[in-house]
Amino acid sequence: MSIRWKSLGIALLIILAGGVARLPLEQRYTENMRKQQLLDAPLNVSMRDKLGQTFFLAVLGGFRSVVASLVELKALTAWQYSNWGVVDENYAICTSLQPREEHYWEFRAHHLADNARDYYLLNSMLSDASRHALGQQYVDKGIAVLREGLTWLPRSWKLCERIAWYSSMPYTEKRNHAVAAEYYAKAFEASGRRFLWRHHVYQVARIPEREREAWDKLIALYEDDSGKDRTTTVEIELLYLYTVRGIYQRHPALKLPEPLFRLISPASLLTKEEKARAEWMRAKVTERANPNAPRPKPPKVESPNLQKIK
């Protein structure tokens, strides 16, 4: 068997001529696919150093998602040793490889703002000041990661919800209810899930300058036709604004809904059930007013599911 070099030359010419013709088509196709977020931009050279040659070649060969999953497994090993720098580094690779994978952003932030924070806050080897400073540093890092994630996934309700939580949770020293309210509202806008809107309203109720806005929103929730939004927290917040914050003094037109108003009426006017409920609500409102006050120990209750679990 032998090949004629002339035919080889013609074949090469066909491929080259075809290449010239298909080049603009390929480019248009790639741009179109990138616009639809179906193709990624090529990896930069710095990623090659971070990934190592084998992983880089695998990524180049179209196994980006598998490599990201393997790097995440590496991060989990580092997590077991509380090596937070390596955990963050590995998750940073995951988020660079698959920036539109929500789960990587969520977990990267979780390891920083929850696990690393607790690790430092509970570290008895550190001074009190260092513990708090390091713990807060990791919470801030976690929030920064989530904000970066939102630039890739602006419609992610989970990332918005996490920012809102980390900005308002009891374990942060920079509690910012305005930011939390804003991000809960964004999360609701992205997903339409009602519990996110209720969280938004609860956060607004914690901002002293926006009490009036909070009242209107709480009343809207209370009067919701389906009744799903009339939660105990909504009732507690209304009672708190009315009785503790005395909102009616600044806005005399505001009226507490009748069933709630009955709970703050003199005990002699209440039925037995109402009295018990009023007492429980009063305790909850006091707890809301003094969140740092020591809580009474809950009574020991055996779970009805215990037998089932056993």
Binding site: G19, Y29, L57, G62, R64, S65, S69, L76, S191, R198
Partner: protein
């Protein structure tokens, strides 16, 4: 008048016959099946079923993602290997068995022979991908079902501090089955793997037509596959303004000669949950058609002139 039977009508030889192509394709498919290529299914089953249990310690979302990652990677790897090794083997084996001479001594144009061989490989790729897809979808369906049931059971026993916390947990379970579960969108990834393998097969056919050694064909096809994954980068360098003359020459050669294999890499996006519109798949099929025509034509030019 004599009663002599009329002579049968003379059938004119057609320059292209789909029947002849299908016969060659059928023979090729049988030839490949006899090479016990389907025994790979045992390995694939082990990989997929193993992956469905191996990552049970991970969070549910990760577990399903890992299963999809591993299964799609295995599908891509197997079909790429089939496409290269299967096609590169065919012509040298036909020469070795003398089957090629038996076919070509009949009025069978060489183009038909090449198209027939390629069609046989494409059938094999299609059937093996369908088998892998069915197995993968079954495992994913059951895994998803088990995980969702576990999650719902967990919700029953878990103590929530507020109604909102419960609603959030429920929303996460719903979203889990919506985004990470078995969806039609996953089939787009399988289609993209198939189209990529078809392009790889035609490249291997070109190499096989040009060279007489199987090993050479396999090695060069593998090299083309690797370079083809960087074709997009080369093309963008060629069309950009920043590259120097030498860099432009090299990237120009890569961009014009090699196919763009990255154009088919939508699997990651499908795993992420991105929806693939039909128009995107149609464009991808169109691109495959262009590569197919171009490389098949080149293979025919070489093969038509080859002394066997």
């Amino acid at each position: 008048m004599s009663d002599a039977p009329a002579a049968p009508p003379v059938r004119r030889h057609r320059w292209f016959s789909a029947g002849r192509v299908l016969t060659i394709a059928g023979g090729t498919f049988t030839q490949l099946v006899r090479m016990k290529v389907f025994s790979f299914m045992a390995i694939f089953s082990l990989v997929v079923i193993g992956a469905s249990f191996a990552f049970a310690d991970l969070k549910t979302e990760q577990e399903l993602k890992m299963l999809k990652d591993v299964a799609f990677a295995a599908m891509a790897l197997f079909s790429m290997l089939f496409a290269i090794a299967g096609t590169a083997l065919l012509i040298p084996r036909d020469v070795e068995d003398r089957t090629l001479y038996t076919i070509l001594c009949k009025p069978v144009p060489r183009l038909e022979y090449l198209i027939g061989k390629l069609t046989g490989v494409v059938w094999l790729l299609f059937i093996s991908l369908v088998c892998m897809d069915v197995l993968f979808c079954t495992v994913l369906h059951f895994k998803e079902k088990i995980i969702v049931e576990q999650q719902l059971e967990h919700l029953e026993y878990r103590r929530f501090s507020s109604v909102e916390e419960r609603e959030k947990a429920e929303a996460e379970v719903t979203e889990l089955s919506e985004t990470q579960g078995l969806r039609w969108n996953l089939q787009a990834a399988v289609v993209s793997i198939f189209l990529k393998s078809v392009v790889l097969a035609v490249v291997a056919l070109l190499m096989s037509a040009a060279a007489s050694s199987t090993l050479f064909s396999i090695m060069t096809s593998l090299a083309i596959m690797i370079i083809g994954h960087a074709q997009q980068m080369a093309r963008e360098q060629l069309l950009g303004d920043s590259a120097g003359v030498l860099a432009r020459l090299v990237s120009g050669a890569v961009a014009l000669i090699f196919p763009d294999f990255k154009a088919f890499d939508i699997v990651d996006k499908v795993v992420e949950g991105t929806s693939v519109p039909l128009s995107a798949l149609a464009q991808m099929t169109g691109l495959t058609g262009i590569y197919l025509t171009l490389y098949l034509l080149a293979a025919w030019v070489i093969f038509a002139d080859k002394e066997l």
